[in-house]
Amino acid sequence: MAHTPTAPAHAAGPTPVAEAVGIGKRFGATVALRDARIAVAPGESHALVGRNGAGKSTLVSLLTGLRRPDAGVLRFSGEPAPPVGDIDAWRARVACVYQRSTIIPDLTVAENLFLNRQSSGSLQPIRWRQLRHRAEELLGEYGVDVDAAARARDLTVEQRQFVEIARALSFGARFIVLDEPTAKLDARGIGRLFDKLRDLQRQGVAFLYISHHLQEVYDLCTTVTVYRDATHILTAPVTEVGHRALVEAMTGDTAATTADATAVDPAAGHRAAGPDERPELLTVDGLTLPGVCHGLSLSVRSGEVVGLAGAAASGNVRVGEAVAGLHRAEEGRISVGGRAVRPGSVPSALAAGVGLVPEDRHLQGLVGNRSVAENATLTVTDQLGPFGTVLPSRTRVFARRMIRDLDIKTPGPATPVSALSGGNQQKVVVARALATDPRVLVAVRPTNGVDVKSKEFLLRRVREVADGGKAALIVSDELDDLRVCDRVVVMFHGRVVAEFAPGWRDEQVVAAMEGVGVTDHAAPGTDTDTDADTDADADAPGTDQDER
């Protein structure tokens, strides 16, 4: 299918299921879109890529009828778009799975699926049993294995996403916009999501797929459109655009971008010193976290970047957080430079010299409405003035240094963090972790949801930390993150199952993360533990501090 070359779409092929021509949109002084266009053919999977701020999200809000374009025409299957506000008409043409979940956690799956249409009329009482049957039918139709009577809060992220897709399509649209659907999924979840999407595609559903992960674009999509600086740059079949050409189109410069991974090559000389002779900076010995891992040992030497890889259920994130003092270990020791860290104590971990880049910058990283300066210096308030005071002048000076050091694009240190783009927000989080000048940097998915260039920058920065004689632990399941590492340790269900020296192949690491080839299958025991932990979390004080 999908023959939508750079030429206007109506020249060849069927009428596009969704088409935007000459779209313009401004927000005050900012131009969000300028003469932008896109055309999605029936049954096509069309990728939309671009850096943060390229106008992707604005296009989504226009395509789904949430906002009105200032200029240009939107057409669905050749007909003009319905007026903004006619929600039902829009829903019959375009379905959308938004970046932020639109599932209401305290209602059941069935009610979420039929929200605001539980009964035929507003005075008609809802017939709950019938509603559940309808929900089960709908879920069955799209092959989603979820209990319709379950509360949505108890679903996994992946199941919630499937429910959202089923709901979006249940309005009859044959065109669906997916705005970064994989941001919160692990590799296996992404695999299953893709299987589902391919299934739907076979049924004739067309996709507009928005993602920061170029690999996903190659895996799933047939056509790719690139936006940059609020306008359309290129549309071409995926097979005709190389990885490099795509990155160039997104960033707009040809020299600096030698594909994100290779730019930061771990083999750049420093390992010649012989890493084995260097002192161990971080030692994890026999770490046992209830329901997560048992007797886990790990060490990171000075000058080394170690990747701690694993799928979502592997417990690698928990281990990384435990090193930073967020979880109390049942047994085992964590020591930094020979000094033991008191388990479950963030101040003790900070004092020992551990810096953490947390997984979710919105929940654990940033205080959104406070300034860049305040956020960047949150961990070092003790250094900003005598006797427990925090002097604004010193804060500013400190923040300016961090802004320069990390190349944070911000109007000034006083700008609220929420006004920055995703990539720059993440840089502020990294700045905060580096502010204490840590001896051990723990970075959990440090490049989650940031664009290609910021990603490259952040990974290089982590590399530099290690080159300065410190140690870095990257906790991630992203191959791009892991490529920077001197050593990759793979966890599966709470145990270390493999270790790779540089030069590993993608399949090897992915296979290890998926637990393929693991003979001693520890899964059943660990699984039940994890579930028990999920239910009875009320009495685990170590985990309480970060729950909400």
């Binding site: 209602l107 249409r117 809802i126 509360r151 296996r188 579930d531």
Partner: protein, 346 residues
């Protein structure tokens, strides 16, 4: 679980287990609104042991009648909290709405309190309810159109309306009320005060609407995630506005029952109630963050608080200790329901 674990949680490899877990969670959720029933039974038992007067129909009807006005405010607060808002001014509405209505209908001379005599006496009740609706509409305008903070707006409204009532009534109780106005609070139908029947009906209506009507369910959606509700096509602002108006009308109606019950309109009518109202609603399982709870649960909250006071009185505890015990009961009830439901209240 932490945000992290949310993501890290055993992925669908264990889909079946999660499904079972969630079913169990649902059952717990169902029982949560009944979690105060045992407490009520225990209170009944204590009352029975403490005094033979407790388990008499006179006493129990008395408790029920004393609960009526409070319970109407609790019904209003439950609806408003479920949709994720707050209205503190309810406790002033209960006083000011009757005063305004009475002020408009009472004759200009001949009594200690002189009104304007603008309208016939039978309009007192409709006027009172209308005043309630206007107050709710104004609150809604300030919160939803001007986008002011609901807590502070209704706090200001609370003070302002109380002041208006004091100014209009010159700080005194009004005793010469129209007979139509006092009828509902005084009358007795089928052997029990009319107020009790009315409350039962209103609670049944509220429960049914929240359980079986689309617009009722919309309150949970709005309180749970307003953005998601909007994308689902729910007219969020309109419904919240309506809920605020209904809440204030209920408060005005509570004012009618109250003044009928005591035969006079005191200047401090309802003053300080809002703390009890919130306490009863929250121990009844309604979340302060919205999206959770039920009208029935809120009702059990009121009954618990009222029974405690009644049992204390019968047990001969000096009334001077009432306030202390009331506060203590609220905190104990919160602790119990926190552990009975296993969920955190934030």
């Amino acid at each position: 679980m932490s945000a992290t674990t949310d993501v890290t949680e055993p992925a669908a490899g264990v889909a079946r287990t999660t499904a079972e877990d969630s079913r169990r969670g649902l059952d717990l959720g169902r029982f949560r609104e009944l979690s105060l029933i045992p407490a009520i039974l225990v209170l009944g038992l204590i009352g029975f042991i403490v005094s033979p007067a407790f388990l008499t129909s006179d006493n129990l009807i008395g408790v029920a009648q004393q609960s009526t006005e409070l319970s109407l405010l609790v019904l209003a607060t439950a609806l408003i909290l479920i949709s994720g808002r707050m209205d503190l001014s309810l406790e002033s509405t209960i006083g000011v709405a009757p005063v305004i209505a009475v002020w408009l209908v009472l004759p200009t001379s001949g009594a200690r309190f002189t009104g304007l005599g603008l309208l016939p006496e039978w309009t007192a009740i409709p006027l009172c309810l209308l005043t309630g609706a206007v107050i709710g509409a104004v609150n809604g305008f300030l919160i939803l159109k001007l986008r002011l903070n609901g807590f502070i707006v209704t706090l200001g409204m609370l003070t302002m309306l109380r002041g208006l009532q004091v100014a209009l009534s010159e700080g005194q109780s009004i005793v010469e009320l129209p007979s139509s106005f006092t009828y509902l609070g005084k009358a007795s139908w089928w052997g029990a005060p009319a107020a009790i029947w009315i409350c039962v009906v209103l609670f049944a209506l509220g429960s049914a609407a929240l359980a079986w009507l689309r617009h009722g369910r919309a309150l949970y959606a709005i309180g749970g995630n307003a953005e998601a509700a909007r994308t689902a096509g729910i007219r969020v602002d309109r419904i919240v506005w309506l809920v605020l108006i209904i809440g204030s009308v209920l408060a005005a109606f509570a004012g009618i029952l109250y003044s009928g019950h005591y035969g006079s309109l005191s200047a401090t009518q309802g003053s300080g109630w809002i703390f009890q109202v919130f306490a009863a609603t929250v121990i009844g399982g309604v979340s302060l963050n919205g999206g959770k709870g039920s009208v029935f649960g809120a009702l059990t909250g009121v009954l618990t608080l009222q029974l405690v006071v009644n049992v204390m009185t019968l047990a001969g505890v000096p009334p001077l200790w009432n306030q202390f015990l009331n506060g203590a009961i609220i905190i104990v009830a919160l602790i119990i329901s926190r552990f009975a439901s296993g969920e955190k209240q934030e």
